[in-house]
């Protein structure tokens, strides 16, 4: 009998079923469990309190990222050090969990270090108490974010109870125009499909544009899956993936490497596999994007105008748009290009990898940050930082008037006390422009790293393509 053709997601799912729990629920094995300073210590404490131990500490890795200070010279000690970092360190040690501690190689934003260390591998299940765990899907891992109770469950049992998601494939046809980045592409998709379009789905990104992207770029795409409502986003592993992984600290070696690659090559979906939903996106013609509201779906091309809620037919959307514009203090009909700004943030698990910093530094070289703007560059990890310094990127940024900082989540969410002041407008390479996300009453405009540099230089939201001419 011929078996049904399977998708990438089907294959990885099937390989991890420990027990079928009925009604589409399964108990799945967790290959890599990553914990951080916001929920990690709390979950580890609960495991002990309910009389369990960490089942597989050798498959569990810890890093403090959300609450560490990124201020140079502050030794990463932020206001939540005692409350968040220290307990994580203590509980990790007590449970035999390897922690990549601040200032050490391997330390950084959990979604930057997993791939960088070779912990995230194709075909693995990777779970973390953070919604942007979908980032790891860029390497062909089935990875998603979970809540603290589920983290406790994973620690105690090395499994997760999960309902099989529906599969959506987004096909990107064509290649990106000059000056347009993967971040722009995925923002434009969210704008088109909406912030809830992926609800209940795992998304597989495919097509010519994806095949041509580096792993860093694929991770940027996958990172924003959750902003479309999808817990999981992934790209089938290929030679680009294998080349990225080879030689990394925790990557398989020698004979195991051969075995692993052989296995990974069987993971891409069968040609005639069926998807529950399929979307075609023409990539050519997508312009650099910028958000104007308080949801990533509130996005438009840089040459667009602040939209008018009155023109929106759907009454709920109209209300949400009006509330968003009141918050971001923008008037319908205003061109986005030219809106004055106060802050720029280049960082976060979306856009803080070496390739992002290279792209930004190339544009910043020989230019100056506008006088009225404070612009930060926060590398995603200690390794990114060291590699960037070795290439002299820090000098380029500093010479251009950027602040070069220590690795961490920083202004992406402000849980380390680093925030944008009330009323200020920040152009940011992060993934969320929610109300108060970067600080109470702060306004966020999501963009690509190139667009962030363009904004820093001109002191206004600005089209990066002007810097290319």
């Amino acid at each position: 009998m011929l078996s049904d053709p399977l998708t990438l997601i089907d294959k990885i799912w099937d390989q991890h079923v420990v027990a079928d729990l009925g009604s589409e629920f399964a108990l799945l094995h967790v290959d890599r469990s990553l914990i951080h300073d916001l929920s990690g210590a709390r979950a580890l404490k609960t495991v002990a309190e309910i009389g369990h131990s960490v089942r597989n500490p050798e498959l569990t890795f810890a890093t403090p990222d959300h609450t560490v200070s990124t201020e140079p010279g502050a030794d990463h000690v932020g206001p939540q050090y005692e409350r968040c970092v220290k307990p994580l360190r203590r509980y990790s040690q007590e449970n035999g969990i390897q922690m990549f501690d601040i200032g050490e190689p391997g330390h950084g934003i959990v979604h930057v270090i997993g791939p960088e260390l070779g912990l995230t591998l194709p075909g693995t299940t990777v779970l973390c108490g953070d919604s942007h765990t979908c980032t790891h899907g860029g390497l062909g891992a089935l990875a998603w974010g979970i809540g603290t109770s589920e983290v406790t469950h994973v620690l105690a049992t090395q499994t997760i109870i999960q309902r099989k998601p529906k599969c959506m494939r987004i096909n990107f046809d064509g290649i990106l125009d000059c000056g347009v980045e993967p971040k722009d592409l995925i923002l434009s998709v969210i704008g088109r499909l909406g912030a809830a379009a992926g609800d209940g789905y795992a998304i597989e990104y495919a097509g010519q544009a994806i095949q041509g992207m580096s792993i860093d770029e694929r991770m940027t795409i996958c990172n924003l899956s959750i902003e479309m409502g999808a817990k999981i986003g992934m790209v089938a592993p290929d030679n680009t993936t294998f080349e990225y992984i080879a030689g990394r600290q925790f990557a398989p070696r020698d004979e195991e490497w051969e075995l692993a690659v052989e296995h990974w090559q069987t993971l891409p979906g069968d040609e005639d596999a069926q998807f529950d939903a399929e979307v075609m996106i023409a990539v050519a013609g997508v312009a650099p994007q910028v958000t104007w509201g308080t949801s990533p779906e509130h996005v438009t091309a840089i040459d667009g105008l602040v939209p008018d809620p009155a023109a929106e037919a759907d009454s709920d959307k109209r209300r949400a748009m009006a509330a968003a514009l009141e918050y971001t203090d923008l008037v319908p009909g205003t061109p986005l290009d030219g809106i004055p700004i106060d802050r720029v943030f280049i960082g976060s698990c979306t856009n803080s990898r070496l390739s992002d910093l290279r792209r930004a530094a190339n544009l910043a070289r020989g230019r100056r940050v506008a006088d009225n703007v404070r612009a930060w560059v926060v590398p995603g990890s200690e390794d990114v930082k060291r590699a960037a310094v070795a290439e002299g990127l820090d000098t380029i940024f500093r010479d251009a008037g950027f602040d070069w900082r220590e690795p961490g989540c920083s202004l992406c969410v402000g849980s380390n006390g680093e925030t944008v002041a009330a009323g200020q407008r920040c152009v940011s390479t992060t993934n969320r422009n929610f109300v108060g996300r970067q600080g109470k009453d702060s306004k966020t405009h999501l963009v690509s790293p190139g667009m962030a540099v363009a904004a820093a230089i001109s002191g206004r939201i600005s089209d990066v393509r002007k810097l290319l001419n």
């Binding site: 094995h29 369990h52 195991e256 709920d316 929610f434 109300v435």
Partner: protein
């Protein structure tokens, strides 16, 4: 975990779309507040004015809805960050059930860990419920019955909802996931033994 069988209560309507978990519990509170004080900051940006006073337009600040155990909310409720503190903050307000056209998926999963029932109904139904909740608010009681999987509105026919059978049983019995999974301990060990042969590179020690 608290069991859920049936509740009867007025229902507070919050129909704005895409209420995210940063709005449900701001990061500053997530980091600093103890679990049992989180409810004080639930919906902080919507519930309070800049000067810290209550926003009278916010449903949960209105007399009729203060003791509500049910929320009627707009699409994509609980989208965004995975923080389970969002569920804890809402549960801390005494809310036991949230009725929505759709939920953020991580928030949805988190609800079941705290005995909070998320009910998904078509947008038109939810909107009609919101209208009912606001007319004669003090007397507009809804009953949510998990045994029969029905919502009985204050007026009109009752409406059936679906919840995964597995989750339903766990809520009805107040079962906790870890206890459930521990019954599969042998299978987990077997899985790892076999998997180690097939994918040795996964097992780092």
């Amino acid at each position: 975990m608290q069991k859920f069988t049936r509740i009867t209560s007025v229902a507070a309507p919050l129909m704005q779309a895409n209420i995210d978990t940063d709005t449900i519990i701001p990061m500053s509170r997530y980091v600093t507040a103890e679990i049992d004080t989180l409810h004080q900051f639930a919906f902080e940006p919507l519930r309070f004015n800049a000067d810290g006073s209550e926003n009278p337009n916010f449903a949960l600040n209105q007399r009729a809805f203060r003791g509500a155990h049910i929320l009627i909310v707009g699409p994509n409720f609980g989208c965004g960050s995975s923080r389970e503190t969002a569920v804890w903050a809402i549960a801390g307000l005494g809310i036991r059930c949230i009725i929505a056209p759709s939920f953020g998926s991580i928030f949805y999963a988190n609800c079941f860990q705290s005995g909070l029932l998320p009910v998904v109904l078509p947008l038109v139904t939810v909107e009609a419920f919101a209208v009912l909740a606001e007319t004669e608010p003090e007397r507009a009681e809804f009953t949510v019955n998990l045994e029969t999987c029905q919502v009985v509105p204050p007026k009109g026919a009752s409406v059936s909802f679906q919840v995964e059978p597995f989750r339903r049983v766990a809520l009805l019995e107040g079962l906790d996931d870890i206890g459930l999974t521990m019954k599969h301990d042998e299978e987990i060990a077997d899985f790892q033994r076999q998997d180690r042969q097939q994918r040795p590179w996964i097992y780092l020690r």
